[in-house]
Subunit: 187 residues, 2 copies
């Protein structure tokens, strides 16, 4: 492992820790650099804005839980992935910070663009690929508007994260999985 | 029509107009009072915070389009209501301002609570009542988790409003209505 990736990991971990301890408003390049033990210039080399750094930090934090699984059984994999999203959103150390980034995106178009580029786009590509392999395997209706179909399954968890109308708990996962599978024509 | 309701309407209209012209950050009780031609004390009598005023103002603006219809045909009414939500969210004079309020709710718990109380709760009660009358009429599966079912149908439009991954246009309405009806067991 080279020095650059080691310092990147330290920076990302320090960013998450500072967000969790002090909140988004209090986090800045100087504080992160100090906490990570790197010169602030190191951060400016890689991240143009604080929001890009925060997005990368939380993406790294949850990334290992968000690889869309492929066991060959789409119904199982869809449930696994929806349950993983719900767990992340329901985690008080993660959900509110992700919600905060989406919230910043409503006042700052650059934050919204960074989130689309760094989180939505790669995650959506992975989901589309898994939905398409399920269609090829006859485990998912073939005539779907794929983006709408993925939204249908995942958006309820985003809704509860952002509108705060109820918890993203196991009961909710069970209900949404049942409804979404019927909607998508997953046997 | 009494004087109080006339001044309330003026205040709410002035609030919406100022949000649209200047943006949420620039709106305050003093500017709204001046634009509405009422003393600022009149606003403080009725609204504790700016966010409560802004929420009431946009609720009044879109309220007439958001009475869940009851024609006796649930499939038709669900489509009508989902299309109405999509139109509001897609409207550049409304959608971004609603999104901004949800965004503020991520940094200010009081804004989130006001939105839940003033918008989500009454709208959800109306949706639940319409879903239940559809169940009684045999036009909707009777074994649904109603809150999850309503979320499934409506959350995709919230997702696109807030994550900005695509437009809430007619094609999207058609796709989501098709998927949601299957999910909910609407013939």
């Amino acid at each position: 492992m080279d020095q650059a990736s080691a310092s990147e990991r330290d920076i990302l971990r320090a960013t998450v820790a500072l967000c969790q301890e002090k909140g988004y408003d209090e986090v800045g390049f100087a504080a992160v650099a100090a906490a990570a033990g790197v010169p602030e210039s190191r951060l400016h080399e890689q991240w143009r804005t604080k929001s890009a750094l925060v997005i990368d930090a939380f993406r790294a934090e949850v990334g290992r839980d968000l690889v869309f699984p492929d066991t060959g059984d789409f119904a199982v994999d869809l449930r696994t992935q929806l349950a993983a999203i719900a767990r992340i959103f329901h985690d008080p150390n993660l959900g509110p910070h992700l919600a905060r980034v989406i919230g910043e995106g409503q006042r700052d178009a650059d934050v919204a663009a960074q989130f689309l580029e760094r989180v939505y786009t790669p995650n959506r590509a992975a989901a589309r690929a898994r939905f398409q392999s399920a269609q090829a395997a006859g485990q998912l209706r073939s005539d779907l508007d794929l983006d709408a179909a993925i939204d249908l399954a995942f958006a309820p968890f985003w809704f509860r994260l952002l509108v705060k109308s109820g918890p993203n708990n196991e009961d909710y996962v069970n209900s949404v999985v049942d409804l979404a599978k019927r909607g998508l024509g997953v046997p």
